[in-house]
């Protein structure tokens, strides 16, 4: 499932390139109990945890990419490596031609990192004061600053709250101010970590509309982590699915949808089956098997059959198979690789704060 197959000409204009990235942490473990607490004073059991393992991908200018996966899959770690906040253990990362972890000011001025769980606004002050602080930090010329504030406050409808103490603003108002703050310096790459977490549905929609519009308008590259499907469905034409630190899906959102609906159908045909019956089964397999990207969606091995089938025709196929004599061990299951993708899709529809 190499990305090169999907996007043939993108290598030349990719502004984010990640090759064989690995990041691991050392943690230590303690068995429960007081005795073990004393023991660990003298000897600690260290354990290396690999958060991101052998991850490679490319992202082109102006793309809107969703990083999804279950909790602890490594998506935030990956985002933070791209932001230069944490060092890669191995592998190569280039963002806009820079190695992020060196954190050159030129690099930092051209990216923005927004965490939905934490903010940069000064709670004691109105957002406009924090805006002015960032104007100095990012060395934004005064005229450009005024222009940006006007444009962003218009798009995000925060005009009338810019001079209200941040502490007194609602979560949604604050989040919109955070977004404006993060975009004042006109970054080329925007990294969003759970941007809609905790927001109510109307505010989520507003944030979605803004991000989509902004991405299109400014050709800014956006990478967003979320385990909230509407974020992905509304915003990200392309999706990287991460599980246990590795990318298990890298492609279009529609492809992911198809993948989530597929089922694996397997059965055995005993050696007593006639040639005619075998031919009928083979025809069924040809008719129903979807073509997977790896090309091995269906196979036969000594009478054992296994094929990937689109969810909508499973019922029909099963009905046909049951009619075949000498056919046993008929089984329909979700392909193991995609279990978590399906879980993810099934959990959609809940409020954004259901996983806080």
């Amino acid at each position: 499932m190499s990305i090169a197959n999907l996007l043939p000409d993108e290598a030349a204009e990719s502004i984010i390139a990640v090759d064989k990235l690995k990041r691991s942490y050392t943690t230590y473990h303690k068995e429960p109990g007081l005795l073990n607490s004393f023991k660990q004073l003298f000897r600690r059991r260290h354990k290396v945890k690999v958060a991101v393992d052998d991850v490679s991908f490319r992202i082109r200018r102006g793309e809107f990419v969703g990083l999804i996966g279950p909790n602890g899959a490594g998506k935030t770690t990956l985002l933070k490596v791209l932001a230069g906040v944490i060092y890669p253990t191995a592998g190569a990362v280039r963002v806009l031609g820079h190695s992020p972890h060196l954190r050159s000011y030129e690099f930092l001025r051209s990216i923005s990192f927004v965490s939905g769980q934490r903010g940069q606004l000064w709670m004691e002050l109105p957002p406009l004061d924090t805006f002015h602080l960032n104007r100095e930090i990012y060395e934004i010329p005064r005229a450009q600053f005024e222009e940006r504030v006007a444009e962003l406050s218009d798009m995000l409808q925060i005009d009338d709250i810019l001079t209200v103490q941040a502490r007194r603003l609602s979560l949604g108002q604050r989040r919109r101010c955070e977004l404006a703050l993060a975009l004042l310096h006109d970054p080329s790459v925007l990294l969003l970590d759970e941007p809609t977490i905790g927001l109510d549905l109307p505010t989520q929609r507003r944030v979605h509309d803004f991000l989509r519009q902004y991405n299109r308008h400014r050709q800014v590259t956006v990478i967003l982590t979320s385990h909230y499907m509407p974020d992905i469905e509304n915003l990200c034409p392309r999706v990287l699915f991460i599980q246990n630190g590795t990318i298990i899906y890298n492609g279009s959102q529609s492809g992911l949808n198809r993948l989530a609906a597929t089922r694996r159908v397997s059965f055995a045909l005993s050696s007593k089956a006639t040639e005619e019956q075998t031919r009928a089964v083979t025809a069924l397999v040809r008719r129903f098997a979807v073509v997977a990207e790896d090309g091995v969606s269906a196979g036969e091995d000594g009478g054992q059959y296994s094929l990937l089938v689109d969810g909508s025709v499973v019922r029909e196929l099963v009905a046909e198979l049951i009619a075949v004599d000498h056919l046993t061990d008929l089984r329909v299951e979700a392909p193991p690789l995609e279990d978590s993708i399906i879980d993810l899709f099934e959990s959609r529809g809940g409020a954004g704060d259901s996983h806080v």
Partner: protein, 289 residues
């Protein structure tokens, strides 16, 4: 040589980005004005204990000599009553100016909040130092009134330094003292890169800084060998040494040696803290969020 270059490099880097740090200073000063109760609190926390200590010492001197009038008072460990009174006023002002325990830096490392600073084109420790400078300025603003009242109360015992050279040395020692206080604070706070819980170290630091800075009592009350040991530590200089300069209790030669030791400590700690920061960042895992 390396440390000189490190200090020089840091100063140049900070200077060329001065507006950023000035903006951080200004923002922090603005933010602290939002808490009006702090003014009242600082009057209570600074004024009342100071007054208590000064009255305590006045009573001691009065008991010792049986007289309450300044000229008749004796001396304690070579300190006249005026010197003791002035000592406590000056040391308390310096203690307010030089912050000692900065929970926030270590807290940001532990909570992962540091990530939000690392993605901005500013040096985090420089940024934080600007905030601390604003806090010190706020201290002056908030306590000027109450300190003036206390000083007036004890005006007949208040020593006013009038020598220009002494003030020059005091100014130098205060700048170095502020830097030293910051660096010692960072040295301890950055341990959060390695350890989950640094409460023990922080408590030890707080105790050591408060004691070894002469906050409780003048350090020359201690046996000579003890005093000599404290003299080698960085905690000795920001508060105690500066106060000695103010009271005129050290001669010019001793003052220069003291300033030299202060410069040396600043240089050493700049190198250590920068190294600590560099290595710590490699370990930083930006947990949470």
């Amino acid at each position: 040589m390396t440390s000189l270059r490190a200090v020089g490099g840091l100063v140049i880097a900070m200077y060329s980005h001065l507006p950023k740090y000035a903006a951080a200073f200004k923002t922090q000063l603005q933010a602290t004005q939002e808490y009006r109760a702090n003014w009242l609190l600082s009057i209570l926390c600074e004024g009342v204990p100071l007054l208590g200590i000064l009255l305590f010492w006045s009573a001691l001197f009065a008991a010792d000599t049986g007289a309450t009038d300044a000229s008749a008072a004796g001396a304690v460990y070579g300190y006249s009553q005026a010197e003791v009174i002035s000592y406590y006023i000056v040391i308390r002002v310096l203690n307010g100016l030089f912050p000692s325990v900065w929970w926030e830096v270590g807290g940001n490392i532990r909570s992962g909040h540091l990530a939000d600073f690392l993605t901005r084109p500013i040096d985090y420790l420089g940024y934080y130092t600007s905030l601390m400078l604003a806090t010190s300025s706020q201290y002056i603003l908030a306590t000027a009134g109450v300190l003036a009242v206390v000083a007036l109360w004890f005006r007949e015992y208040l020593i006013l330094q009038t020598d220009f050279l002494s003030w020059l040395l005091i100014a130098v020692s205060m700048v170095l003292g502020f830097a030293l206080s910051c660096l010692v604070g960072y040295l301890v706070q950055l341990l959060a890169f390695w350890f989950e819980d640094t409460t023990g170290v922080l408590t030890a630091q707080h105790f050591l800084v408060t004691f070894a800075s002469g906050f409780y009592f003048p350090l020359d009350f201690l046996p000579g060998w003890f005093h000599a040991v404290l003299k080698t530590l960085p905690f000795y200089y920001p508060h105690f040494f500066t106060t000695q300069l103010y009271l005129g209790r050290v001669n010019f030669g001793e003052a220069l040696v003291g300033i030299e030791i202060e410069v040396l400590w600043v240089a050493v700690l700049v190198v250590v803290v920068r190294q600590q920061w560099r290595i710590g960042l490699r370990r930083f895992s930006a947990v949470g969020g």
